[in-house]
Structures are given as C-alpha cells and as structure tokens.
C-alpha cells in the first residue's frame, strides 16, 4: 500500500535527478537546447493554466507578462549592468504586480468574464508592446544581449540556461501540483464551473483569482527573463507576438488545462512534434500534422489527454481506494423554536435600474424556525434570497444574522458566517464529482477542519440526502431529483445557521416530493433555521412554522400557514381560491 503510494514520488524524484544531471551526461549540446525549449513551454503553458485552466479565465495576454519579464531582464542586464541572475526576481515580480493591478480592476466587474476577459488581456498585450516600443525601454532598435555575462552554473552556456529553465519548470509544476490540491485550487476549480455559486458557497473569488493571476504572470515573467539570454536579440515584434498565447492555449488544451500536469504533456508533445518535422522537406507537413493532432484532440479529447487517461484509469483505482460512505444521518430529536432572531431583515430594498424588486421588506426569522416564502411570480422571493445570501448588493435597508450585520458583506463572507443556500435550478460545479461538490461546500462554507474530517462530513451529508453510491458521479450523471438533493447536501455540509432553499421541490414527482419533505423535516430536526421559497402549497403548509407572502416586492402577509392561506387578500393576489385543508 505504501509502496504503491510512494512509487510515483520515487519516479518523480528520479526523473528530477536525471534531468538535473543531463547536461553532465556528455550528450550533444542540442539536447540541452531542446529540453530548454520543452521546459520553457511547459512552464509557460502550466503558468497559463493556473488562471485560465483552473479558474476558467481564458487569457490571450500571456505574452504581455512574458514580455514584461523578458524586457525587465534585458533592460536591467544590458542597459544597467545588473548581474543576470539578480534580474530574475524583478522579472517575476514586475509582471506579478502588473497582473495584480489589472486584476484588481477587471475582477471586480462581472461582465468582464469569458471572451471579454480574453480580449481585454489581448489588448493589454498591445498596450504594453506599444509602450515598450515607443519608450527608451526598447525604442524600436531591439536589445542585444551578447555583452551580458552568463554565470557558469554548468560547463556550457547552454547547460546553464538548461539548468535555469529546468529549475523554473520543476518549480512551476510543483506550484501547479500544490495549488491543484489546495484550498486555493479547489476554489479556482469552483470559480471555473460557476463563479457566482462559488462565491455563495464561501469561495473568496476575488482574492483567489488575483492570487492565481499573480502566480501565472510571475512565472511567465521569470521564464521571459531567462529566455532573454537564450534568444540573445530582443525585439518588440518577436516578443509580444501571438505565438506565445496561441501555443500555450494549444498545449494546455491538448494536455488538459484543468490538470496540473496536462499542460506539461501538451507542451512536451507539441514541442517534440515541431522538432520532429523541422527538416526542410517536411516543414509544411509538420505544421499540418501538428494541426491535425490538435483538431483530433479537441474533437475526441475535449478535456485534454491527461483527464482522459485519468478517466480511463479511474474505475480500477476507484475499486481499490474507495472508502465507505455509510455514515448514517444522526437521529437528532426535534428542537423547539428559539426566542432570539436568527435573521432580521429591516427595510430591505433592491433596485435594478428603474425596477424596484424589493421595496422595504421587514422579516424576522427565529432560531430553529421554518419560514415559507410565497408569492406570485415576480413578487421578489428569489431576489430576497439573493440579497440575504449576498448575491445581490442591497440598495437599502439592513440584514442581520444572529445579531451581526451582514448586508454589506460579500457573499463568501456571508457564507462563512453561516448562510447557505440552494438554487431553484440546481447549479452544481459541473466538472467536480458529487462528492467533490459537497467537499468544496464544506471546505469553504463551514468551520475550518482537516481534509479527512471534511471528507467524512461530506460523505455523511451525501448519505443523509440519499446520494450514497453517487460519490464519483459527475452532476451530469445525476437525475433532477438527485441534483436537487446534491444542492441540499452542499448546503448542509456548510453547517449553516440559516438555510435558504429556493424551490427545492419544483420539478419533482409526488414520491420525490414526499421524500424531500421528510428530508427537510430531518434537517429542521437537527436545529437548522430555514427560509424556503416554494410554490407547492402542500409542502408549504406541512413544513412551515410561518408563511411570509410577498407581493410586488413588499411583505404582504405573515403568519401561520393555514391562516395566511385562508386570508382572502392572499387568495386574491396569489392563490385564486382558498386552500382547503
């Protein structure tokens, strides 16, 4: 068991040792040069994947950060005689700072996602290229590096550059590996799948994106710093061209941009292929073959080679490592409704331009209480859930949770303070398994715990919601009923003080509704405070301690379910007929 676990580590250590000693093996110097370029592309594509692959923020601006690093080294070494090695920290820090500045602006704007982010990063590249070209940084004449002394870390200059590129490559892969297995990585993957949900589940999305962007840019910068010495003559046209972003995207896509090791595989394959067809007679054939392989990979391996291989291996491995998920739901006795308010909503207003969605709503929810939120379509029910959970900022009013004001806090902070929610249409993280979805919610939404504890708790809530045996299934493999319950499991795993359920019963058949009602009662029995939006009146009456009716963004009625449902005013605006018990 230990040997099986240690074997990959041993192989990695041996490979690192072997590659570190390669320049001393007496091989032709070309191999130093060839592997330098492999390491170069592995580092660049892996660094790109830290933001674009992991978090899904597709960047076409990697050449900007690579170029800033390259010119930092070139200018400091060639114009100010700073020793080459001393320029490298600056070559990493400057692009990282640039990324932080750009990210601090861009990541605050929700509309700058997807293609707009890609175009913006491309524009940044052009702006930086223009600045470099039209200032003394370059000025158009290029920078010749021949007078810059290269330290003799190895016997030959090529060996020295090889070693530097190798160290950066190994460090980059180590960073990518560490990130992919860390809380940061989990958050980035969640952002990739659904950023709004990630934020609502407690992922500090802004900070995580900024961290990934800075890491990505810093690595690209230091790679550029070393590359300045490898190329020897630096020009703006040769530095800020589209080759860098194009190649890193292709390499990452081929290998798998969500995998820490995927871009490395893609980079190695494409670099090797480009060399394999470098003969003068095969130049065009080589380009065509590379193009064909990429098209084939995109068609048949849309997630990349590494995830495809992992998927192929998974059934065998799963059988050997799977642990029991048979943590039974605790039989907690029902708790009575407390005296203090868990939620206090005071004069809450929400405007969307000229539309008043919520017009001064007041609502108290006591500890352990279940409040049903009903009203006709467009009455503001889901908007109220969204402002309580922080998805929408308040236009006015206050919201307090357990006596603490949360109305001005970001959604992830509200989640940390104990508010969990579900979505009317389930929004699981599509590329995470069911168990990973629940683990992510427990990690970011609940108290700080060890990974093993989080996993056990996630298994517990999966069993609680009847999802045992579905741990390794992707959300796409679950039916609607299961996806709804996965939403519940995610919310419960955060150990919320307040649970907001948005039409959790919609779309279920009668048997599934009965099952869900039992489940909500069981949740309530464990002491949770629940606000739920529901159209199914049977469920509202059976589950609610009180019912709040919203109409045109205002609280219209509040009281015991049966009384409210019989209120002629409520009937007239919402039900159309009296509810018959």
């Amino acid at each position: 068991m230990n040997a099986a676990r240690d074997l990959p580590r041993l192989a990695a250590a041996l490979a690192i040792g072997a590659f570190a000693l390669l320049p001393t093996a007496g091989l032709p110097a070309f191999y130093d040069s060839f592997f330098y370029l492999v390491f170069f592309w592995v580092s660049l594509s892996t660094s790109w994947a830290l933001l674009s692959g992991f978090a899904g923020y597709f960047s076409l601006g990697h050449a900007a950060f690579f170029g800033v690093g390259l010119y930092t080294t070139a200018v400091l070494a060639a114009k100010f005689d700073v020793p080459f090695l001393l320029t490298l920290p600056a070559a990493a820090i400057l692009p990282a700072l640039l990324a932080v500045v750009i990210g601090a602006i861009v990541f605050r704007l929700r509309r700058l996602r997807g293609e707009l982010f890609a175009l913006l990063t491309l524009a940044v590249t052009f702006v930086i290229a223009t600045v470099v070209l039209n200032t003394p940084i370059d000025g158009g004449g290029g920078i010749f590096m021949s007078a810059v002394p290269l330290p003799s870390l190895m016997a030959t200059p090529t060996g020295t550059l090889y070693l530097l590129a190798f160290v950066i490559c190994v460090s980059t892969l180590a960073i990518a590996w560490k990130v992919s297995r860390s809380r940061l990585g989990m958050g980035l993957f969640a952002i990739h799948d659904d950023e709004d949900v990630a934020e609502a589940k407690g992922v500090p999305t802004f900070r995580y994106k900024l961290t990934a962007f800075a890491l990505s840019a810093g690595i690209a910068g230091i790679v550029g710093g070393v590359h300045a010495m490898f190329v020897g003559f630096i020009t703006v046209a040769g530095t800020f061209e589209l080759t860098v972003p194009l190649y890193v995207v292709l390499m990452s896509v081929l290998g798998g941009s969500r995998s820490w090791f995927g871009p490395a595989i893609g980079a190695t394959v494409i670099t090797t292929l480009l060399y394999s067809f470098s003969s003068g007679d095969q130049a065009m054939i080589g380009r065509a073959v590379v193009g064909f392989i990429l098209i084939a990979a995109i068609l048949w391996l849309p997630d990349g080679a590494v995830p495809a291989i992992a998927k192929w291996l998974k059934p065998r491995r799963a059988a050997s490592v799977r642990t029991g998920a048979d943590v039974a739901p605790a039989a907690t006795p029902a708790r009575s409704i407390g005296d203090r308010n868990m939620l206090e909503v005071r004069g809450v207003t929400k405007r969307f331009g000229g539309l008043l969605a919520l017009g001064g709503v007041d609502l108290d929810v006591r500890e352990g209480e279940i409040v049903g939120l009903v009203g006709p379509n467009g009455s503001g029910k889901t908007t109220l859930i969204n402002v309580i959970s922080g998805h929408y900022p308040l236009s006015g009013g206050t919201i307090a949770l357990d006596g603490v004001q949360i109305g001005a806090l970001p959604a992830h902070d509200i989640a940390h303070r104990g508010v969990a929610r579900t979505y009317q249409i389930p929004r699981p993280f599509a590329n995470m398994t069911a168990l990973e979805n629940v683990v992510a919610a427990a990690t970011f939404g609940g108290p700080v715990r060890k990974p093993a504890e989080i996993r056990d708790e996630a298994l517990h809530w999966m069993a609680f919601t009847g999802l045992s045996g579905k741990e390794d299934v992707l959300p796409a493999g679950l039916n609607l009923h299961e996806r709804k319950f996965l939403e519940l499991a995610r919310a419960l795993a955060a150990r919320p003080k307040l649970l907001l359920l948005d039409e959790v019963l919609s779309g279920l058949n009668p048997a599934e509704v009965d099952n869900a009602i039992r489940l909500v009662r069981a949740i309530r029995a464990q002491g949770a405070t629940i606000v739920f939006v529901e159209h199914l009146m049977r469920a509202v009456v059976e589950l609610s301690d009180r019912v709040a009716v919203l109409n045109e963004g205002k609280l219209f009625a509040l009281g015991a379910p049966r009384e409210v449902m019989r209120d002629p005013r409520v009937v007239s605006i919402y039900l159309g007929k009296a509810y018959a018990a």
Partner: protein, 407 residues
C-alpha cells in the same frame, strides 16, 4: 572607408577572384563529378512562420547553388549535401536547430539563417563551436561581433553612413536637388537604424529634415502620417519601409491628392511596389538587378533563368532574380571560395582565407577584412520605370539608356 590592401593581400585577392570567376564560368562538363562522402552543409531558413515568403526565395537560390557546386567539383571533390531545417521564423528555434546541426547531425559546415534575430541567435551557437557562418540579411553590421561570421551582402561596416550618402548623391545629381526632406520609418530595428543615419547624414549635407516620424512595424493605417507628409511637402521623402508599407503609404497620399516629388523606400516588397499605380519613379535600395551590366557577371544569366523557372513553378509572386536571392547565391559562392581557397573544411582555415582574400560573387567583389568582417559598401539605387525596377545609381551600374528620373 575602403582600406588599402597590402601587396601580400593583393596576391590573395587576385587568387580569390581567379578561383571564384573560374568556378562560376567553367562549364561543369569539364570537371570531374564529385564523389565520396558528401560534405554536409547545415542551415536553417524560416520555411514556415511569418518569414516564410522570403525563405522560399532563399531556398530556391540555395538549391540552385548546391546543384551548381555539385555540377562543378563539389567541395574538395566531394558532393555537397545541404541539410536544411525549418526554424519556423523563431530565433529560439534557430538557436536550438543550429545546436542540432552541429552537435547531433555533425554537419561539416553551416550557412546562416535569414533575418537579424535568427542570425544573432545562430551566431552565438556558431561562435561556441568555432564554425564559419556566412549570412546575407543582417542589416546592422555592428551586431556581427563574431570573428568567423561573414556577410554575403555588401552592406559595408557602417551602412547607416554609407547608404544615406548613396541616395543623397543620387538626389544631388538631379536638376533640382532636394533642399528639404521627410524621413519616415518603421520601428523595425534595421530600418530604424538606417533612418537615423539618413536623418543625420542629410542634415550634415545641408538638407533640412522637416519631419522625422516612426511608425509601428506592420502598420496598416497611414492616413495621419500621409497628412503630415502632405503638410510638410518635402522635396524628398525617405521611407524606411518593409513589405507592403510603402504601397499603403503611397495609396494614403494619393487619397489626399498628393504625389511625393521624389520618394525612396528601403525594403519594400519589390513586385507590388513596381506594379502599383503609385509606384512610378519610386526609388529603392538594391545590390543587383536582373539587367545589364549585372547579367554579364559570371553565372548570372544561367542562375537568373534557373531561378525564374523554379520561382514560376512554385507560384512565387515575383519571379525575377533579385537582391534577396542573390544574397543567398553569394553566401554559397563565398563558402565555396573559402573551402576551395583554404583547401580544407576546417573552419579556422576557411575563416583565415576569407579574411585574406576577395571573393567574386554575383553581388560583386567582396572582401572581409574590415570592421565586423565587412568590406566595401555596395549599395545602389533602383527606380521603378514602366513597372520595372532599373538600377539608376551609381551611373556606371545603370543599364544602357537608363537614367535616374526626377519627379
């Protein structure tokens, strides 16, 4: 600028000239076919990527020359094999592929790649292994700091000084010599280098530079620049252009109803500018054209005909043998002369021989004993006349009946 040669060198010069001329002029049938293990000459060209169009020109010229050399006596009686790799227009690929050629393929000799950045990347490799490297397209000679790197194109060691004076001399010869000029240049290193020299030399000769403007390489919108040129209305417009930039600039000027009086273009795409409705009387830099007196140089007619046939076959847009192609021809001529002259494939001996001798090439007699291994500058001026390029300056290189036409 031209260094005086000593008597001992004069003999070397004569020997080199004789060897070069004889090899070019002699029919291959008089020579024994080369035999034995091939002499492998490695090099890269940018067969793919953004420089691919120019590489196609160089590849045709190189193929012709390898056949020519093998049709004579090869190198030292052995056939020549050209090991050509594609550097994909990337300097880092050029560097690593020259490492491959030298350390893995173990070629006997190398030829340089195309364009300044790949040349400088390859030059570092050549220097580490002591290989002779001949190149034909590095426009900034002072960057050629390696002792065994040789130019195949006669830029001279300071083209930023010599070349402006060639065009200024030409302009001084017209009935109304220009008193004012505008210098425009692409921010491409070699073009910008020449533009700065042009500005300085013009001012030194009393020509007032009304405007010096730089634009980004590959610029497509010349409207604003054209307006400023029109406003300045210089007697002479000098453009440090590449590719189609000159066509775009002239078109933008036409849209403003302005035709520049005299206009020079540094490195334009030759075909499009010659055929452009705006290109009439455009001046340009050159080292040779497929016309007299150059056609009388040894081997020129044969190579020009062969080039045209092959260029037509692969649908090149401009099929006339031009200075670009002749630069590659010159590379091989210099290498052949060096090998034969040194009677060795040893790089040190070839380099020593080249430094001590003058070589007859299609681009004229070339020597390599000046700064940065450059010899005499051989720049000329050509002009579009009736949709064809004609060398017009210096006068002795103009074809019979051809003369510089002032606007």
């Amino acid at each position: 600028m031209i260094e005086r040669l000593g008597a001992w060198r004069r003999r070397g010069v004569l020997a080199g000239l004789a060897a070069g001329a004889a090899s070019l002029a002699a029919p291959s049938i008089l020579r024994a076919a080369p035999s034995g293990k091939p002499v492998r000459v490695g090099g890269t060209l940018s067969l793919t990527g953004f420089l691919a169009q120019t590489a196609a020109v160089h590849k045709i010229a190189a193929d012709i020359m390898v056949e020519e050399i093998n049709g004579r006596n090869g190198f030292l009686g052995r056939p020549v094999e050209y090991v050509l790799l594609d550097d994909q227009s990337k300097p880092e690929m050029a560097r690593s592929l020259y490492e491959k050629l030298i350390t893995v393929d173990k070629v006997d000799l190398i030829q340089g790649p195309y364009a300044t950045a790949p040349i400088l990347a390859a030059m570092g490799v050549a220097q580490r292994y002591g290989k002779v490297m001949i190149q034909s397209s590095m426009g900034i000679p002072k960057l050629q700091t390696y002792d065994r790197a040789f130019p195949a194109t006669p830029f001279g060691p300071e083209p930023d000084k010599t070349y402006p004076n060639v065009i200024l001399d030409a302009m001084a010869s017209i009935p109304t010599p220009p008193k004012t000029m505008v210098v425009l240049t692409s921010k491409f290193p070699s073009a910008q280098f020449m533009a700065k020299g042009m500005q300085k030399e013009a001012e030194g000769r009393g020509v007032k530079v009304l405007l010096y403007l730089e634009y980004e390489s590959g610029n497509h919108d010349f409207g604003a620049i054209a307006a400023r040129v029109k406003e300045a209305n210089p007697d002479f417009l000098w453009v440090g252009s590449l590719g189609l930039e000159s066509n775009l600039l002239l078109e933008a000027l036409r849209k403003l109803d302005y035709v520049p009086k005299n206009h020079f273009h540094l490195y334009p795409a030759p075909g499009p500018l010659a055929l452009s409705p705006d290109g009439n009387r455009a001046l340009c830099s050159t080292f040779i054209e497929a016309d007299e007196p150059f056609m009388s140089r040894p081997g020129m007619k044969r190579i020009a005909a062969e080039y045209k046939e092959r260029a037509t076959k692969i649908n090149l847009p401009y099929t006339t043998l031009d200075a670009q192609a002749c630069g590659m021809v010159s590379e091989w001529q210099i290498l052949e002369a060096g090998v034969n002259g040194a009677d060795s494939l040893d790089d040190a001996k070839i380099a020593a021989w080249l430094k001590a001798h003058t070589v007859e090439t299609l681009l004229g007699k070339q020597r390599f004993n000046g700064p940065y291994n450059h010899g005499d500058a051989g720049q000329m001026i050509k002009q579009v006349q009736n949709k064809e390029w004609k060398v017009v300056w210096p006068k002795e290189f103009a074809a019979p009946g051809v003369k510089l036409l002032a606007s």
